[in-house]
């Protein structure tokens, strides 16, 4: 279509690297209660329902878009998890939206985790140790999300010797260095990655004034003070810029930093985290004499402490978190006007959880509660609005004084019944609240999302979920099977009113209506756990619906992310010590979307009339990807070289990404056009580790 497309589609493939001790880092340092993806025994015996752990070593053996090993895209292959769209790193869980998920990197919240409008995630796989997804039923120490929590742990560098890796693909290059600053005491890991497609633009007179690049870097310092105490400092930055000549520029940046103190004794473990995070958007357009700038940010500064004590059959978890939130919903400079809406909030929570392994051998249960107080703080203007969104009253409180405090009490309960070592039945209930909201005009996240904190007008979202699961494994553990059913209901879900968009008014609450959502379904998964062939086949049957007064006549309607059937097949075959092959196949029922029910003429144009929201289905989505990895040690085993080959969308299916309707000016008929993002995309990359 044009050179940009060719560059984007041809300049693909990224190197991959992962260390083999990631699960140890995750489990020994942080003692996460998780289900290990390749451990059938833990899946059966773990108390927590709906938790999935991902290990970075698994990611490198799966094919992925543009050859990039991507924690977010691998996540989308799990049962009950779906991609927002073909072009998105974001994920949706059990009928929730991506805006209802919380993504934590070393306890710091991260927003808009995509590079290049979401094609890649901002997380460099070489910087990660592991990640755990809680599909709604999360332990009490997690909060702030009405759908899922995705907790990512960064990797510590080697403490025994120096090493590193360097890799180059056709789109980006990355490098890392790690090793002991003080042997067996203080280690460091530094990762950096940058795309370089923009360098090719400079070779073309036609495109030399365009920018299209991303950058990310991670740093982790790990200081083992003694056998009991460890200090960790981790930092992450990412930046994206897309600019078309001097016409349009879209920039967004993520930054997180956390300082963690880990204490571990025979019966007690404690983790104290001081963290900051910042997500900034800066978009501008300059067309002739029209200058427009749209900016916003969401920033957090917080302190979290959690302690775990084990005593016989009892285990106690307790902790607290305090966090300041600073949200600039929008700052607009348009022509001579300059408008800002910025709010601050203080979010405090505390939790306690008790797990008891009953003397009745086959039963374990956990009961916990999380209590939260979220206060919108004074300083900026707050207001009252009428039913049409017009401001009727303006308030102003002194800076830092609470304007409105929302209190939440969130019980969490889990029960495990294990009648035999191979079989378990689990049930759980949880309530979660979400005080920070992301508002989108479209299905996928963009730098034009606006964020809003709960205030005197906007209530925190409140989600209740119940789940029931059956888990069985063969005595040999070669295969295991799981079936999980869930029902979730969310109150106070915000959405834009009809007839407005993100730029209609600076006061975000004037643009919003709130309603409720519900989702229910069944997830089934069969896993093959032992080499040479490993993988899983999962099937999800799900419903997701929304009801908001003022939209669709106040009736329930299928949510955008409602997809009835969802099948994932993920296979990996280790042929030899050098070659590993992989393949994935995904199938989704077509996404719900809104199509016109009638049309009429106005202003010499055909205007569509929409009688029902999301009443139609896009064509089904399915796709197969394949990959191969070849690795060989060189230099007497001191170095390892790897080639990765992949083909995304092997049979070149054009899946629906967007469906638009248009009518000829002269009434020749209504045409529905489907737009697709990717056809077949081959990739290759090379990586060198030492």
């Amino acid at each position: 279509m044009n050179v940009l497309i060719l560059l984007l589609s041809a300049l693909t493939g990224l190197p991959q690297a992962a260390r083999s001790d990631t699960s140890r880092v995750q489990q020994e340092e942080l003692e996460e209660v998780v289900v290990v993806a390749n451990d059938a025994g833990r899946r059966v015996s773990s108390l927590q329902l709906g938790a999935e752990q991902m290990q970075v070593r698994d990611l490198t053996s799966r094919p992925a878009l543009f050859g990039e090993a991507d924690v977010m895209r691998s996540l989308q292959l799990l049962p009950g998890v779906k991609a927002e769209s073909d072009a998105s790193s974001n994920f949706q869980v059990r009928g929730g939206t991506a805006a209802q998920n919380s993504i934590l990197l070393d306890e710091a919240p991260v927003y808009n985790v995509g590079h290049l409008a979401g094609l890649f995630s901002a997380f460099n796989d070489n910087a990660l140790a592991g990640a755990t997804l809680y599909k709604g039923l999360a332990p009490a120490r997690y909060g702030g999300a009405s759908s899922a929590v995705f907790d990512i742990t960064s990797r510590a560098g080697r403490s025994d010797a120096w090493g590193g890796n360097a890799g180059i693909g056709l789109l980006s290059a990355k490098a890392s260095v790690e090793g002991p600053l003080v042997r067996d005491r203080l280690s460091m890991l530094l990762n950096a990655r940058r795309s370089y497609a923009d360098l090719f633009f400079k070779l073309s007179n036609k495109y030399r004034n365009n920018d299209l690049y991303f950058f990310d870097a991670n740093l982790k310092l790990n200081w083992t003070v003694n056998d009991l105490h460890t200090l960790q400092l981790s930092a992450f930055v990412s930046k994206d810029r897309t600019a078309v000549s001097d016409l349009v520029a879209v920039d967004w940046r993520n930054m997180t930093a956390s300082l963690q103190w880990l204490f571990r004794s025979h019966r007690t473990e404690a983790k104290t985290s001081l963290f900051v995070s910042s997500y900034d958007m800066d978009n501008s357009i300059r067309l002739l004499d029209s200058d427009q700038n749209y900016r916003g940010h969401i920033r957090h500064t917080g302190l979290k402490h959690n302690v775990r004590i084990t005593a016989g059959r009892h285990e106690f978890n307790a902790g607290a978190r305090t966090m300041l939130t600073d949200v600039k919903s929008a700052e607009w400079e348009i022509l001579s006007s300059h408008e800002v809406e910025r709010r601050k909030a203080w979010d405090n929570s505390a939790w306690a959880e008790w797990q008891y392994d009953t003397p009745v051998r086959s039963f374990t249960f956990m009961a916990g509660v999380r209590a939260g107080a979220f206060s919108a703080l004074g300083g900026p203007f707050y207001y009252d609005i009428d039913a049409d969104g017009n401001i009727t009253w303006i308030h102003r409180r002194r800076e830092w004084r609470p304007v409105k405090t929302w209190v939440s009490v969130e019980p969490r309960v889990s029960v495990l019944w294990r009648p035999s070592p191979q079989l378990s039945v689990k049930a759980g209930y949880s309530r979660t609240s979400q005080p920070v909201h992301a508002l989108r005009n479209q299905d996928t996240s963009t730098p034009f999302d606006r964020y809003a904190v709960s205030s005197n007008l906007l209530r925190p979202q409140l989600a209740d979920q119940v789940g029931l699961g059956f888990f069985w494994m063969m005595p040999s553990r070669d295969y295991d099977v799981s079936v999980e059913a869930y029902y979730r209901h969310v109150d106070h879900v915000p959405d834009y009113r009809d007839g407005v968009n993100f730029a209609s008014a600076i006061e975000i609450e004037r643009l919003i209506l709130t309603g409720e959502g519900r989702g229910y379904g069944v997830e089934m998964c069969i896993r093959k756990n032992t080499s040479p062939l490993t993988g899983w086949i999962s099937y999800t049957l799900a419903w997701s619906q929304t009801r908001i007064d003022g939209i669709n006549g106040g009736r329930w309607y299928d949510a955008n992310n409602d997809r009835r059937h969802d099948i994932n097949v993920v296979l990996s075959y280790r042929l030899s010590s050098a070659w590993t092959f992989s393949a994935t196949w995904v199938f989704n029922t077509g996404q719900a979307f809104t199509a016109p029910s009638a049309k009429y003429q106005l202003i010499d144009n055909w205007i569509y009339y929409y009688a029902e929201r999301n009443g139609y289905r896009a064509p089904n989505y399915h796709r197969m990807d394949i990959g191969a990895k070849w690795s060989r040690p060189i230099a007497g085993g001191r170095m390892m070289r790897e080639w990765h080959f992949g083909i995304y969308n092997v049979y070149n299916r054009y899946n629906p990404w967007l469906i638009r309707f248009e009518d000829s000016t002269y009434g020749r008929g209504t045409k529905a056009t489907q737009y697709s993002l990717f056809g077949i995309v081959p990739s290759v990359s090379f990586n060198l580790k030492w």
Binding site: N210, F448, G499, A598, Y600, Y609, A611, G667, Y675
Partner: protein, 266 residues
């Protein structure tokens, strides 16, 4: 801004587009009222909505409606039917009076109101080339001087050879009292050379219409503009459940002949 970005996105990312067939579900027809009261006259067009697959243009006009215009509780006129679904009256908008429109058809009443505005003040109009992603794009630029000391809303409509071509609404909130600019993306140079039916051609007759409208009309038209292709209906301007809007407005018109040789390089 978002509209321009979205129009650029397909050039960057989309790898394929194809027409798909849908089994559209039909709904009962709704009445549509498009009413305009200007400094010269009052005109109303009434029609009904039609099925998506129905492409007729004139089969859905409404000829048996009763349309009454009033102000301050006083009936000013009952509009006369002039054919093709159109009703007209000599009632003119004056000052900043508020006018009420009542439409009665088949026992159903639809009402709306609108407030007359002052005359807009156009400054200039021209066509420009702008290079975007390696393509020369044609823009029409309309400039007008905002009226000082009041909040103003504008509706601008370009006609090509007598038929509506592009339209936009604009408020003065970002530049009160200043010179305002509205750009209309017309087509690419390639479209013109290819003879695309949506592209301007050398010699196309262009009419430019600027209306100063009230807040209610602006809100309706803005929602119509914003939600184009988004799967939602514009906000209601009439009570009673009909589609469309009523606007009392001051109109200024001008006309041009599009000449490729006269397009300015930006």
């Amino acid at each position: 801004m978002k509209k321009i970005l979205l129009s650029l996105l397909p050039f960057v990312l989309v790898s394929c587009e194809k027409e798909i067939s849908l089994d559209y579900r039909e709904v009962d027809a709704l009445y549509v009222v498009e009413a305009c009261l200007t400094q010269d006259a009052t005109t109303v067009r009434i029609s009904t909505s039609q099925n998506v697959t129905d492409n007729s243009v004139l089969d859905h006009v409404v000829a048996d409606a009763t349309v009454v215009i009033s102000s301050d509780g006083e009936v000013l006129d009952t509009l006369s039917y002039v054919g093709a679904g159109k009703y007209s009256s000599r009632v003119r908008g004056r000052g900043t009076n508020t006018y009420d429109l009542d439409v009665e058809v088949n026992g159903r009443h639809f009402t709306s109101y609108s407030t007359m505005q002052h005359a807009p003040d156009p400054v200039g109009f021209r066509f420009l080339w702008k290079e975007m992603l390696g393509r020369r794009m044609l823009f029409a630029e309309l400039r007008l001087q905002d009226l000082p000391g009041e909040v103003n809303y504008y509706f601008m409509h370009l006609y090509r050879n007598g038929l509506g071509y592009r339209w936009a609404v604009l408020s003065d909130e970002h530049g009160p009292g200043e010179e305002l600019q509205q750009l209309f993306h017309c087509c690419s140079e390639d479209d013109i050379l290819d003879g695309d039916s949506d592209a301007l051609a050398d010699g196309s007759y262009i009419e430019v219409e600027i209306r100063s409208v009230d807040r209610r009309s602006y809100d309706y038209l803005y929602s119509l503009q914003t939600m184009e292709g988004a799967g939602t209906n514009p906000i209601a301007n009439f009570t009673g459940g009909c589609l469309g809007y009523f606007s009392a407005c001051y109109i200024v018109k001008s006309s041009y002949t599009f000449r490729l040789s006269e397009v300015v390089e930006e």
